[in-house]
């Protein structure tokens, strides 16, 4: 008989695996709300994961490693920002190039790090009182600092998006850049800021992967999580709170797959590895139908470059 502690550890792992997806999803939601589609998440996550890993490894400080990964992701996003905002290039091509670049960069420089393992990962910090709550405590509040940071990020970003002037400017720029410009908003500045923010959070997702969830280095360690994050943006209908549920749903599929393998199931591991991607298909199909019937739609000027003087 399986003890209920198995379920609790499964759910605690769900949160961890979900956090890896949550950061980049939130970041992409904000970039897309500003009108910038960044398909380079996978690349930025890989760069964040790699830099996060080597900095943690060499300094023996996972916090420093995580921070370095975040910044690396942000810097990588500036390539996309420059091409799509300043040069008004095609955002799909630029984003895909960034993903390919991230893959190539980490494969090349990551060769000598393959199969190395971190000794000190992000430590678990049980929150006083909260971690004592039955079931809830061990699942949500016996995690590391970065997970708590992700909770705060979701709520703070939700607040910024809907309740502040910053969020208002952002939404206006993604919906109707011309109108925003006519009201004195600097469209280019807003788009640069939020594309950079998206990069920081993609880096955070990658860095969290290698400093906590899978503290070793493998080529292509993000394994398509960046693409799942892009699917989650649609699932979340560009809303940070809904992104939380989507990320944990997929985190759950991820965690379940490992748990089943650990329990020695007879299902071939290749099938289990497919689960998150099959899940992506299903979720995208369902959410696309919902998006259609509820008339929720992507930011209207998503992917469209803004040109100030048209004539």
């Amino acid at each position: 008989m399986v003890h209920h502690s198995v379920y609790i550890s499964l759910l605690a792992n769900t949160i961890k695996a979900g956090t890896i997806l949550l950061f980049p999803t939130i970041g992409e939601i904000f970039a897309e709300r500003a009108g910038i589609l960044n398909l380079g998440i996978e690349g930025m996550m890989l760069i964040g994961a790699f830099i996060g890993f080597i900095v943690s490894y060499t300094t023996h400080n996972p916090y420093l490693g995580f921070a370095a990964g975040v910044i690396a992701g942000g810097i990588a996003s500036l390539i996309h920002a420059f091409i799509s905002i300043t040069l008004r290039g095609n955002q799909i091509v630029s984003g895909l190039a960034l993903t390919i670049f991230g893959g190539g960069f980490t494969t090349f420089y990551g060769q000598k790090w393959i199969n190395m393992t971190l000794n000190n990962t992000l430590p678990t910090l049980k929150l006083p009182i909260l971690s004592e709550i039955l079931y809830i405590g061990p699942i949500f509040f016996s995690q590391d600092l970065v997970v708590y940071l992700s909770y705060i990020t979701v709520f703070v970003m939700w607040f910024i998006l809907y309740k502040t002037t910053i969020g208002l400017n952002l939404r206006a720029v993604g919906e109707n850049a011309k109108a925003a410009n006519a009201m004195g908003i600097n469209v280019y500045k807003v788009r640069y800021i939020w594309t950079f923010f998206g990069g920081l959070l993609a880096g955070a997702g990658g860095a969290y992967l290698t400093t906590s969830y899978a503290p070793f280095w493998l080529d292509g360690i993000t394994a398509g999580r960046g693409w799942i994050a892009i699917a989650l943006v649609i699932f979340a209908m560009w809303d940070p709170l809904k992104a939380l549920f989507g990320a944990y749903l997929f985190g759950g599929i991820n965690a379940l797959q490992f748990q089943l393998q650990a329990l020695g199931t007879t299902i071939p591991s290749a099938i289990l590895n497919m689960l998150p991607y099959i899940g992506t298909f299903i979720v995208i199909t369902i959410s696309s139908i919902i998006v259609k019937t509820r008339h929720v739609r992507p930011p209207r000027e998503l992917g469209i470059p803004y040109i100030r003087e048209e004539k």
């Binding site: 502040t164 002037t165 939404r171 206006a172 109108a179 410009n181 009201m183 004195g184 600097n186 100030r308």
Partner: protein, 502 residues
Amino acid sequence: MVEIALETRNITKIFPETVANKDISFKLKKGEIHALLGENGAGKTTLMNILYGIYMPTSGEIFINDQKVIIRSPLDAIKLGIGMIHQHFMLVETLSVLENIILGLKEYGFVINKKTVKEKLKEIESLYSLQTDPNVKVWQTTVGEQQRIEIIKVLFRGANILILDEPTAVLTPQETQSLFKILKKMKDDGKSIIFITHKLEEVMQIADIITVLRRGKVVKTLPKYKTTKSELAQLMVGEAQDCNYLRKKRETNEIILSINKLIVYSDKGTKSLKGIDLDVKRGEILGIAGISGNGQKELVQTIAGLKKVAEGKIIFNGLDITNKHPRFISRLGINYIPADRLAMGVAPNLSGIDNAIMRRYYRFPLSKNGVMNYIKALAYTKMMAKAYKIKLDNPFAPIKLLSGGNMQKLILAREILENPKLLIASYPTRGLDIASTQFFRQKLIEIANKGKAVILLSEDLDEILSLSDRIAVMYEGSIVGILKAEKADKNTIGLMMTGAST
């Protein structure tokens, strides 16, 4: 002594291919409504965009309260107290009215202080009797409301100089009158207003001073009390205009198109046509009047085969065309001029030629065994441009580079050249100057005179009244009445458009 609120000296703006403004100098006094009158392409909008910081002038100077200023961006303009109400509203449809009003402002805190905003809104609303609900989303409001929101937005920023670019183009007669009341109130408060238009009637009604522009230059500035409509028209076009159309009345009772109990649903799933019955007779122009959003667009789109019929029948010349393919319908002789030219009338990134031949590219002689003959296509396009006075300097350039008026002329010419048995014309003269408006109205009349039929949609009631034989008025997806043109007047139709029973 009267103070000058704004002055331009020798403003010139040169675009790569055209000189849009040449040495424009004019003065706007405080507490004055100054009309800028000119045909399409006269350079009115370019000049205003320079004042609002959207374009930089090639040369020339701008003075505000006798201080020389350089306006680099809309933000600069707003800071100088200039507010602009664009022809195409600058509203973010998914945001609420309140959010649109404070967009870009910083003084309401990082976390938006809705209470202070609403208090200030109340003040402005009561001062100028402008009513809005700050909590609804802009896409839920009517065009008239959207204009009020734009005006509030500008007043909210404390603008002293207001620029209105063709503000009445989308309004009903009643809405226009209430706009004029608001403008007069603002004038009495000492605000200065620049009113851009090509409608003479409105100029005579609202303006104090009139500056006429033609081909990018100032023709004359004159006070209203010293001028007349016909003088202004003459200054605008450079020649006297006469407004008599050659209409031969032909009484036939032969029905060309018959619509029976037509029900159509909108994209949102609500009924946009609630059982329409309508007959169109051979040789007539049938006007359809209504405030936008009451089903006129859906009705004509359904006839053209662009919308699915849920219930009912459409019979054309004895043939059932209900839910038939658009090309099948157009080849039967029903041609459709859409209201939204950029979205449905042209393919913006394709060339002038490609857009001109859109109705016939697949037919001989433009196409033979699936291979297109561009030499013949070019000849056809040139013929069209010449016959219909379309300014198409480079037929290979993307059509989106043409001015709105020229684009509209091309669409009209394309459909008329198909020699339709029934022409559906939605807002055919929107954005056209006086001369081309008359030219195309004459064309519509010729089609009717030849024993064919025209369905005319327009928000310009004068146009409908002067051209139509019968006028059907729509309200909330139903036809509330069909009037004979000689028995109809503006007021009755205006009331029927708002749902009042007659």
